[in-house]
Point group: C2
Chain length 641, copies 2
């Protein structure tokens, strides 16, 4: 008998001795980090309100109860009963019964009302029909990404359960009890921005953290081939942990499956969906630019299928000696500062991922409060000694001024923006400014992936700043549903119409004017001296956006939008730049993140910044806070314990 | 056709165009780092004195010429002809003909006379008989190790040629031309003494440097199991380089063959022989102490069979992008400072191994002059701020004083000593002192492996200090052959006889009184208040030697010598300690090694020393010479390029 089977037998014996005599537990098994209990008596379980919670705290496991098939009402009858238990205002939009696991997935506009106070409504459902309810939110804005992911996971349930069982046994394997050490190996994003990738290793376990590309440098991928990474096979790593969906952290995760990886990806649920969206777009862009992408959509699907979503604050076993917890990072939807608790308290490491330390309109500031942390691996994008940003309040005022001026001239405002994060922040600024009369009411057109990304944001309001979440939850004042917002979904005809029409604001990808519908908008509006092009995000060296900022006014416009015409455009529209909407903490934010961090770590590795930024930040942290700081190179290994 | 075959074809074509019309080259092949030419015209090759040298410098390869079988005289006839060419004073002791390679191995007391001026006698031999002569020295003192190794290699010639051909193709494989980087990973002997082991890696190549045990800590072996070491299989490394034969550098090399390693071991010839001696003793000691050794003598033989000996100063290709050169380290016979020339000048690393910077009686001081060095990995045994040793001249005087005093009292001098290195140094001191009348003539008994180790030293006078070598070469004044030296080779009876006899000096292993014949000598002499126990080497914490130094006078003597009697002995003999005979540079020697090093490296990794020693040395080098210095931990990886 394997040690995991022995462990499960012991757990079952302990559970049998804890549950009341009228409840039978027919089987226990692991699925990913969770312990699954099978029972012919799901209704009795539901009646004993605290039973599952008590078992979970006693066994120190996350527990799911699954009814045996014979304990279930027939789906048709169950459906009626369930709908009679849930208040009508919950807005149930779909019920999906899974005979194999006894789960019923309830999609509702107001998931809270399906859950009830402390889960009481869920328990009522089980008491009535035996089925285990699982609740998901109906996206307030229809998102093809979210529905594709959900449909795909539904269709792959059997495969997925096999994966979860395998992962579960892997997580709960017996420790070899070898030496104790904790190491971090750097595979990318050291003294550079891009291709984020690290290995966190102990004598038992190896975990890959992020696996991104380097925008603008196709060949420079993380050093996955070295022995301490995947050199001895992709399955030599236990788990992949993804801090957030940006491509410089996630682009090459699907490649792992091409290399034969077959293990779990841990991230938040919105990160999973955004990652799927961005990876498919990454393939799309590569195809459009005539490059052969390193993987195809099949591996994106594998990635989704292997993802185990975790919520902020959930302490989760991902290996015999490693627990992780995600915390809000304030950077983009679902972005996570990730805390690794190693060897039962032996050592603790926090990876910042990308962070924003101040609150923004979209997100609360990054969490920097942990039970214990000895080492922090920290982004340093704006770690340079002069990398201070304008206050967002000032930036907003400036943006409003620019829009009003343009409106008065009868022109249109064109804003190149990244689909994920910055677009939604600007949308919130504009919505409020119109609502409070600071700028006139006019249409705000959203082109490219912005609409889709916004839809994903509205699917996960729990991940947004608390007052924004409350507006969406309680007041039906979802700002993203404001009437001004228009999705450009009818292509060139619609753009022509908008260009010929009255004053408006247009938000369009790509954010650095490197392709996408912004190219078409430049053709429509670029010659109009009354209109304005407004940059609200960082324009990297070598991009068309940066060139325009630098004064170029002859622009090559040979993109695929509008039939691939290739010619040059004389840019007559005004160009303005409004700084201060960054998703990254500035130098002050990074210093404050460490200054107020609780507890203060002993060591900091400064990564994810150019050479100057990591050196400056490393030196500043050393001098101000007397910590041991490092500016690692790629391909190094640091031992902490 | 493989790239190596293509390369060999190209080389053959080039050679064909270079050699005179009357010489045919029938085939070319690689054996280890050498290029082997086969020819039906060995005599013509020998007649063209400069031909091989010119080819070697043109092709930048080491070249060996092998006659085709039909070009060879019959061995019986050849033997007579060879003996007629070689001067009688050369003292030929053996001729061994190898039909397969056309080589004849000539063992002679004076190899130089077989070689002749600039190799003229060797060429004369080939001109006469076609055979390729190879010369080895007849050990002046018979060494069972040397003869065992030579006989074993003779018997395994076929296997060995297969190995060399395989290694040769591996060395000359085509580079993948991936990224350029140079890294060192630490697997042992960082912030500790013992289990020396490192990986030097580039994108093409991974080399294991040393693989030792940790004396007094059986369980603490190098971290071979990690992915950057042998984690993905023992054959994932290209080569093993061994700095010297001490067990803290060599003990676990045979274990690699148990793990499936099948590649080359590079070291000097004396290191190979001493390593064999010490490894077999290591197995012996383990067996005596009832421990199961991690490998057996079969793997020691595999190690010998896979060893490719290199001479000091030979620049040798060991991988497509790595050349090594050994230089005298002054520490023990054959010990080498090892220089790695990487990527055609891209980067240069020197590993000090263990060093002695000053000249001693046995060895010239360590070489610290290189074409280029960017990084030095340096031993720090005596790197602590107070680790200064007595001058050897003063130590010698003190030793002489102690011996004279004991002689005058009618007692005997018992010196526990390490078989390799320190014993021979003391032998030279005593031989000179008796020759010059500083101490009375009396027998010097050598017990344990000392005699055998001394025999190995006399086999390789080229590796000894130049004036000592000259005495052995030119003057027949080999001090090790002095009449006073007596090999204790008749066991307990002989020891009893010596103990009952007149004044004498006894050198016996083990050096730290942890077992071996010294235990028997203590039983024989320990109770004699006129005799003296004299420590001349470092006594580690926890050894019986250290305890006796600290004043213990009740000694457990339950060893296997003398029938395993177990009882306690009251030590009445005098105890003295004479410092200053260390094989390691002291603090000043280490600092001077770096100070006078040419060129001065940019970075130094301080290893092979306890925590305090490496920190002290690292800090001193930083402050005195403004270099970047590190005191690595085990299991770290440093990237240099
Ligand atoms: Zn189903
Ligand atoms: Zn990011
Ligand atoms: Zn990033
Ligand atoms: Zn040594
Ligand atoms: Zn050593």
């Amino acid at each position: 008998m394997s040690s995991v089977d022995k462990q499960l037998d012991d757990l079952k014996a302990e559970i049998d001795s804890e549950v009341p005599a009228d409840i039978t537990v027919s089987d226990v098994t692991y699925e990913g980090p969770e312990l699954v209990l099978y029972t012919p008596h799901p209704k009795q379980f539901a009646r004993n309100g605290d039973l599952v919670r008590n078992l979970a705290s006693k066994l120190r496991k996350r527990i799911t109860v699954r009814p045996d098939p014979e304990a279930l009402s027939a789906p048709k009858a169950a459906e009626d009963e369930i709908l009679s238990v849930i208040p009508e205002e919950a807005g149930v939009t779909d019920l999906d019964f899974h005979q194999d696991t006894g789960e019923v997935v309830i999609e509702a506009e107001k998931p809270g009302m399906v859950i009830g106070r402390h889960g009481s409504t869920l328990r009522d459902i089980t008491k009535q029909v035996g089925w285990t309810p699982e609740v998901v939110r109906t996206p307030p804005i229809e998102s093809s990404t979210v529905s594709n992911v959900r449909n795909f996971l539904k269709q792959e349930r059997d495969d997925r359960r096999d994966i979860l069982e395998r992962v579960g046994r892997q997580i709960h394997r017996e420790e070899m009890g070898r030496d104790q050490w904790v190491r971090i190996s750097t595979l990318g994003c050291c003294r550079e921005v891009g291709r984020a990738s690290f290995i966190l290793s102990t004598a038992e376990t190896r975990i890959l953290i992020d696996c991104g590309d380097k925008p603008g440098a196709e060949g420079e991928v993380p050093y996955l081939q070295v022995p301490e990474a995947l050199g001895s096979g992709a399955n030599s790593i236990d788990a992949v942990v993804l801090t957030h969906a940006h491509l410089d952290h996630s682009a090459l995760v699907p490649l792992l499956f091409k290399y034969g990886y077959d293990g779990p990806i841990y991230c938040t649920e919105p990160t999973r969906d955004l990652m799927g969206l961005l990876q498919l777009d990454y393939l799309d862009v590569a195809a459009k630019e005539g490059r052969t992408p390193p993987y195809d959509s099949e591996q994106v699907r594998e990635t989704i299928k292997h993802t185990i979503p975790l919520e902020y604050g959930d302490v989760t076993d991902i290996a015999p000696d490693v627990k992780i917890t995600f915390h809000n990072a304030g950077h983009i939807l679902g972005s996570a500062v990730t805390h690794f608790h190693i060897g039962d308290g032996m050592y603790n490491v926090a990876f910042s991922g990308d962070i924003h330390y101040q609150d923004t309109r979209l997100f609360n500031g990054a969490v920097n409060d942990f039970p214990r942390v000895e080492t922090l691996v920290m982004e340093s994008t704006y770690g340079g000694r002069n990398d201070y940003q304008t206050d967002q309040a000032d930036s907003e005022e400036k943006l409003i001024e620019v829009i009003n001026e343009t409106y008065d001239k009868g022109g249109k405002v064109l804003i190149p923006a990244f689909a994920v994060g910055r677009s939604q922040e600007i949308m919130l600024v504009l919505e409020e400014a119109m609502r409070t009369g600071k700028i006139p009411e006019m249409p705000i057109h959203l082109d490219g992936m912005i609409w889709e990304a916004t839809a994903i944001h509205t699917t996960y309001p729990e991940y947004l700043r608390d007052d924004l979440r409350d507006r969406i939850f309680h007041d039906d004042e979802n700002p993203f549903l404001a009437d001004q917002f228009n999705h450009i979904d009818a292509g060139e005809d619609e753009r022509q119409e908008v260009a010929d029409g009255d004053q408006c604001v247009i938000l369009s990808t790509s954010g650095m004017v490197t392709g996408g519908p912004i190219m078409s908008w430049l053709r429509h509006l670029g010659t109009d001296p009354d209109s304005r092009l407004v940059f609200v995000g960082y324009q990297a060296q070598g991009t068309l956006g940066r060139r325009i900022q630098n004064g170029w006014d002859e622009i090559p416009v040979n993109d695929s939008y509008g039939g691939g015409r290739s010619n040059t455009l004389s840019l007559n529209m005004d160009v303005a730049t409004v700084d201060g909407f960054s998703g990254h903490a500035d130098r002050k934010g990074l210093m404050d993140f460490v200054k107020t961090m609780n507890p203060r770590p002993e060591k900091v590795l400064c990564v994810h910044g150019d050479e100057r930024s990591v050196q400056d930040l490393s030196s500043a942290l050393y001098h101000e806070f007397n910590m041991r700081t490092f500016a690692p190179k790629n391909l190094e290994t640091f031992r902490f314990k």
